[in-house]
Symmetry: C3
Subunit: 312 residues, 3 copies
């Protein structure tokens, strides 16, 4: 997420009550967790496994629980609990408040857009022109919807990311500072859930069509003209390129990429990145023709056993 | 869908601005896409793969992009884009409009029926007697619900079919002129989605019980006394006969038939029509006892490998 | 469910119009179906398969359709249709009635709790302090929610159990007299469904976190600090112990136990009880390393076939 104004590293260290190393005058313009960082961003890291990923990232400053040998030029803010202090800083910019009305007066709704009864539209939501938002849809604060978008009944746009850190006393939640961005000509079915980003934005590209009961996780980026059938579930931090087709009940794990034009047959489970332009099937998903061969081979096992029993 | 009054082929050709062949006086009483056509219907076809299916169907008139050798006695309306012109004609009979109230004044609700708070009921909906419609349910225009039906909270009845045609500039939507028909004594769980037909009606037979989070696609016809457990997904144009049981998370592909009394075990994936009276399992689903054998055989592969390594 | 006051066996026999055997003065303090019975409870049984289970249970009285040789000291109420008569008795204590307002005046809502627009809260619901109930959530009558709980939009708490008995004229429903109990620090995502117990309570333990589109069946008991990813489905009468992780689209069959700390990988199907502390995968689920071996072995079948064809 972009900050409402740039903060210096020194200012942030004062807000968090931490010491820092590096230029105190360095300007920080955004906050993002490690999957999404850009130049100017503050991020956090609390596990040696991820130190390198952070130091080699584009982040400009890092809340960290150790003093590394080489921080690769990044400003460091030292904390005994970087997760907690990152949340503390994010929390200043979250503007979720109790709504007293179903459609926030700060929401902007374009001309020609139809809002059906019992819709909830949170603070600072922007909806473009000629959209139809069907009954009982919920759109959380700050989300942004383009033109000519259709959202069917009871779909939820912008609920919090499912992102927790296990501590000794239970799970602690990473606050969701990001948004959902839906581009023009998207259609979303009924009873879908599109979570907001924890720091970046969950994005659905122009012309993409989603059927009913679909889950899209936080910070996931979906390209243009994709087609997802009913009950597809996509985890967080996934990149789905243009023209991808996911058939019914496909599940996609977090933090991977599905290439342009890939097709996943029904009930497939995607556990690693997949090249574009091919058809996949199975859980875990492999190329469809490989899976079909596997299914055919499986049917030959009884014959193999018979052969072996007779011949050996 | 039935037309509000019969149209002659000539009238339709004038509305669409097309030429035609065959009797201009032929009366057209309905419009349906190819899965659902009856005598008196207008349909459309734009791909050689489906020409024969259309010519051998019961349709009385066809919007088509070629001049065939033999149209089997059907009236033909010639169009460079039959999909677009079919949509153009359907669009005249769709009566979705912005609702200013949550329960449309044109809806008919039978005596003894309880409508809980925050329910949306669209134009011309008919609900029978002694039903309970729980909070936050959405029922789109024109849907029809029998007597003694229970619909649990946040379920959506009658959202648009997920039916698109890929063109060079993205996906174009086939407009949904059909309805949802729910017969007596049906119970539908919470957060389900039952899509309307594109031209025919999505139908749920008497006494059928649906658990939560279930998807039923457009134009699908479900028989009497079926039982579907939670998170089942049924695609469009499926026929499910009486007394079928689908256990949790079963997925059913489009345009197939499941015979009377068939049982599908949990998480099965149905990719072709299945005979009634049998139990099935797996993705793709096969007879349960075959699948169980397959699972047992699979466990013998290590022994086979060992045997082969030793003996050969 | 606990009865509002104790009833004697004689009183119950008079309400139901049945004869009885055993002490008419025996006090009955609760009603429960066989999965949940405690001392003082009335239950029912109508199939020889379950007679022993009932006689060896803690129940104090049984509605039954036969006269057994030994009732193990339980009071018996004789009925030609125990299911019907059990429902008849339960029905006296159900207090679902039409709501005229979205938030029942009999609901108790703790201080600091935010209720967003379009939420439905039924009769006698109790919600603790510092909760956030997002827009379009539905909470049925009698459910109880602790402190610091977050429920995201369009989730449904307390819809009826999916519990039917097949009779010659179709499915008859077992009435749901139980509730949903959600403990402190639970977070539930958007568009989830948590069904009420048929006689006991569906329970979600302290600190457990649920993602979106999750189904939890009737009378299921979930421990503390569990983590369920999106589209998980858990059937009725399941016990899930503390610290269990279910990844996306996992399905769990009814009436089984998952031990403390077990992890189920995405899309797994649980068909029998699983020991704690281990990782499982597949449908049906087996230990992950077994499944991984199976997948590796499967890839060797072509080589086996080649070997055999050459050598035998």
């Amino acid at each position: 997420m972009k900050l409402p104004r740039p903060y210096t590293v020194k200012e942030i260290s004062e807000i968090l009550g931490t010491t820092f190393e590096g230029s105190g005058e360095q300007l920080i313009t955004g906050i993002n967790e490690i999957h999404q960082v850009e130049k100017g961003d503050l991020t956090f890291v609390d596990h040696p496994k991820y130190y390198d990923r952070v130091f080699f990232s584009s982040a400009s400053a890092v809340i960290i629980n150790t003093k590394p040998e080489d921080s690769m030029g990044k400003a460091l803010l030292f904390s005994d609990d970087p997760f907690r202090d990152y949340n503390l800083f994010v929390n200043q910019f979250l503007n979720f408040t109790k709504s007293n009305v179903a459609i926030s007066p700060s929401a902007i709704i374009g001309k020609g857009t139809i809002i059906q009864p019992n819709v909830f539209i949170g603070d600072n939501v922007i909806i473009g022109e000629n959209c139809t938002i069907h009954s009982n849809v919920s759109i959380y604060h700050n989300c942004e919807i383009g033109n000519d978008v259709v959202i069917h009944s009871n779909t939820v746009i912008g609920a919090d990311a499912f992102y927790y850190k296990r501590k000794t006393d239970g799970y602690h939640k990473l606050l969701s500072g990001g948004r959902v961005i839906i581009h023009n000509y998207v259609e979303i079915g009924a009873n879908c859930t599109i979570d907001r980003g924890v720091s970046g934005n969950t994005t659905i590209g122009e012309g993409t069509k989603l059927d009913n009961l679909i889950q899209i996780g936080h910070d996931t980026i979906i390209g243009r003209n994709c087609l997802f059938a009913s009950q597809v579930g996509v985890a967080g931090c996934v990149i789905i390129e243009d023209d991808v087709i996911l058939w019914g009940q496909v599940g996609v794990q977090k933090d991977l990429t599905i290439g342009k034009g890939a097709i996943l047959l029904g009930q497939s489970g995607v556990s690693k990145s997949l090249e574009g332009g091919k058809s996949y099937f199975g859980s875990p998903a492999v190329e469809s023709r490989e899976k079909m061969k596997e299914i055919a081979y499986l049917k030959q096992i009884p014959t193999l056993i018979k052969l072996l029993t007779e011949k050996l």
